[in-house]
Symmetry: C2
Subunit: 339 residues, 2 copies
């Protein structure tokens, strides 16, 4: 039986109201009495009952994180960052798995909504208008998604992929393939946009394949089609797809990077574990989780509803490992011959 506010009040020789104030509005109580209260609370190991507090304040002290698939490694770092930031602010974190399904996701938001003050919605599968007309409570922060009127934090996909294209161009690649992600994915559209602009700028050719599901198996299946394009380098929607490509290429005996350069996106831990280690665009994933929670916390302040919903764009960097190199001479020769 944990100590209640009454026990603390009795021990400190004050009323319960004073105890409450000492904890939630320190300035409204005399330094001296507050100290007495704090001592009593500490001695009793008192912790305010959150349910009781929430009943009055209407706040739960919880936030939720919803991902389309808890099995996706991209999400793990996000969760880690979110969890860390939430804990600093003394918030607890609920997680749930939308199972890649818009209906389930919406149900989850409703169910979870009762028990949290706000939700970080990662790579939502919801349609824009559904997203736009969801209840104002709980407060929503979108990750890697932009919807008018909703605060969100996104990773600079277009800029990141441009870094990769320039890297490839410098190595001498003039024909690149892109294995596209889900058509309805905001991130995918951004990457494609960056890709088009940047390949044009460096004078390289771009051929796209897909869309495919953002998974290992999709990458493996796409590899053959990549080969058919005659591209000397391939960029994948994300690392999972890139690793799938890598795996299939190994099976086919196509050497990476000698015969084909491969670039991923995200820089999940897996990227460094495969052979050859993957060159990839690093998204600050854990930071993204932190920033999203930060934005949520900010949004939870009184009067935040007036302020416009901000969009925060996080920078990406290129991590060059061993899956990219200059195009093979044989390919170059072929190209010259056909010219």
């Amino acid at each position: 039986m944990p100590a209640s506010i009454h026990a603390v009040a009795a021990r400190a020789g004050v009323s319960v109201a004073t105890v409450s104030r000492s904890l939630t509005a320190p300035r409204t109580v005399r330094e001296n009495t507050r100290a007495r209260v704090l001592v009593a609370a500490a001695e009793l190991g008192y912790e305010p009952n959150r349910a009781a507090r929430g009943l009055i304040t209407g706040r739960t002290g919880n936030i939720g994180v919803i991902a389309p698939d808890l099995g996706n490694p991209y999400f793990h770092a996000v969760l880690k960052g979110a969890q860390a930031r939430a804990r600093e602010a003394d918030y607890a974190v609920f997680v749930a798995d939308g199972q890649e399904d818009a209906g389930e996701e919406e149900a989850l938001i409703r169910a979870m909504g009762k028990q949290v003050d706000g939700i970080v919605l990662c790579s939502s599968r919801l349609a824009p208008d559904t997203l736009a007309r969801l209840d104002p409570t709980p407060t929503l922060v979108l990750l890697n998604r932009r919807v008018p009127g909703r605060p969100s934090v996104v990773v600079d996909s277009a800029g990141g992929i441009c870094l990769a294209v320039r890297h490839l161009a410098e190595l001498g690649h003039v024909r690149c393939a892109f294995v596209a992600g889900p058509r309805r994915s905001w991130s995918n559209r951004e990457r494609l946009r960056g890709l088009r602009a940047c390949t044009r700028a460096v004078g390289a050719e771009l051929v796209t394949i897909g869309p495919v599901a953002p998974q290992f198996t999709s990458g493996a299946a796409a590899a053959d089609r990549v080969l058919e394009t005659g591209a000397t380098a391939v960029l994948a929607y994300n690392d999972l797809v890139a690793v799938g490509v890598l795996s299939r290429l190994a099976e086919l005996g196509v050497r990476v990077p000698d015969e084909l350069s491969v670039v991923g996106f995200d820089d999940i831990p897996l990227a460094a574990m495969v052979t050859p280690p993957l060159t990839t665009v690093a998204a600050p994933t854990e930071l993204a989780g932190r920033v999203a929670v930060e934005a949520l916390l900010d949004r939870l302040q009184d009067g935040a509803a007036q302020r416009p919903a901000a969009v925060q764009r996080l920078p990406t960097t290129l991590v060059v490992r061993s899956s990219t190199a200059a195009p093979a001479l044989t390919r170059t020769t072929t190209a010259l011959r056909s010219a």
Copy 2:
């Protein structure tokens, strides 16, 4: 402003008590009135306020899952399974990250304890006696850990690794290396135990290396030492370590499985993504998460405290992929020569 129980009562023309009973103890109310209440509730979109309910019942409707490291892939499937089962029972799931630190883990249990009815503690880093003397509330279920008096669910490590040893023996390996995990890990001790018994049974030699941290980099670092042992096959504490070994071997130009067979443990998704795909002992990870929550739910029933704390052992299977094969002729020749 969501509808309260009073609104529902008014609309259905009954008292709040009847509404409460209709929802929590259907049999105690007449079929007819209950139907009226349910209709009224539905029309108002009424959902009981959990905080208010919890204030009385002393239950939160939440459960917690604590892992040593949210970044460890093993844990993701566990979380997924746990989350799914919890949702079925209308429980919400809190997650937290112990940061591989016993002190942090204990603090987390205390902090989280106030807001959940029970906690699934995954691969706890806590000392046995700390674990044994923790408060009875919240209810704890241990995953991959056994402590007297605490319910737990474990994976059959010893049996699983024995499957792997037999597989290796059948291929003709007579000298195997084991890259051991953390000395204080219960799973590691189990694997070692199974390994000793089983290598003896099949007449193979065993040389152990480590202990090492259960991570990719540790595996990479251990690879050189594995080579020195002259073993023709290596079993790793888990897949992460095995993949590290694989990576370093590729760097060294040692061909797998031709020159060295490699076996992992867990069968995380990564195992199927590397080249060559990893032969590994598959632990039913997602199931483990489900079963742990199941056990927790069971433990939460009234009167469960009387029943003895059960230990559930989940079976493991061997997944043969392409990282194992018969020892190379050259090695065999060497062995014969020295005989």
